[in-house]
Symmetry: C2
Subunit: 221 residues, 2 copies
Amino acid sequence: MEIALLGGTGDIGEGLALRWASDTNHTVIVGSREVERAEGKAEEYETELASRGREVTVEGLGNEDAAARADVVVAAVPAYHLTDTVESIADDLGEAILVSPAVGMKRDEDGFHYNRPGPGSVTQLAANAAPAGTPVVGAFHNLAAGRLANLDAELDWDTVVVGDDADAKATVCELAEGIEGLRALDGGPIANAAEVEGLTPLLINVARHNDGLHDLGVRFQ
Amino acid sequence: MEIALLGGTGDIGEGLALRWASDTNHTVIVGSREVERAEGKAEEYETELASRGREVTVEGLGNEDAAARADVVVAAVPAYHLTDTVESIADDLGEAILVSPAVGMKRDEDGFHYNRPGPGSVTQLAANAAPAGTPVVGAFHNLAAGRLANLDAELDWDTVVVGDDADAKATVCELAEGIEGLRALDGGPIANAAEVEGLTPLLINVARHNDGLHDLGVRFQ
């Protein structure tokens, strides 16, 4: 499968790109608004993977070209860029599945808090911005970017996947479970996305207040 | 220590009562609005514990008398009864710590959702209803009542503890960790309680949508 990571040059996008390229045979395409930045990062990821004996090609493309190539497009951009990003690639999506991992948060003196957008969730924002007929799936909201991008770190995490299209959700669950140490759980329809997104500020608050804990994810058990 | 479980006759209160009586040497007092109901449940718990070779006394009292006796009072009542319950025992709390495990949820056709109260969280509701000077701590929000009350079930869960009084929070963390298989994590001040409470509907949604998963809690890792 071909996976495009829009915003694949930083944060959660970097970790997903490295893990999929390392753990699966899917083709990973790094997308960015700036092609040169995407190319540079793709080369960086290839070097990192080669240093671990994993000789793979990671492509770097502009967001539109990346989206046009892919079967699955992950909009790994901050929540406040999500609508713009999805609209900018709307004509290129074809029959691809759009995946939203973004979470809106606000921070005050006490900690991080979920900043629920008007439509109910960030995943719903993505669905609203996507063309009619594009299946939208929420996933990868609760993965600590730092640990995800550190291929020396073993994962033992769950990711809760939400979506209204069962086939698209099944495809994303399969992609998620291609990453070693990651279990995909069905969270139901997009209407349940706020509870999934709202877990991320809790993970950050817990990491901030407990010595020895950082880069946290969760296991449901 | 003496622990009163208001609403200790059902749901999360039953599980906490059984676990503390089973795993620690704290005195457990079951509180209810109806004394007879509290006495009946306390006897039931004693019988259950005795059948496992654990000979302990569990007391059953009216809520006011239970609160007056205890060092720690857990308001294990539904969120919509919380304010009334706390107000009804306000004169009996003395120097006790008040613990709020309640979560407000609403259910629609898609799943369960966090029903955030006006003051920001259910824990904050408890703090608003408590007398000035009573330390209020939020804890035990994310424990599946069924598994907690089944002493045959081993736990491997975290509970996130929030509060504005560091000493009270430390006492509640210690109580929590007295339960085998339960780890207490500091979630910061009460202002962070909504994110903790909001995890409970996610646990229910995940359990409903995934075969083989039920009575879920979480580990942060």
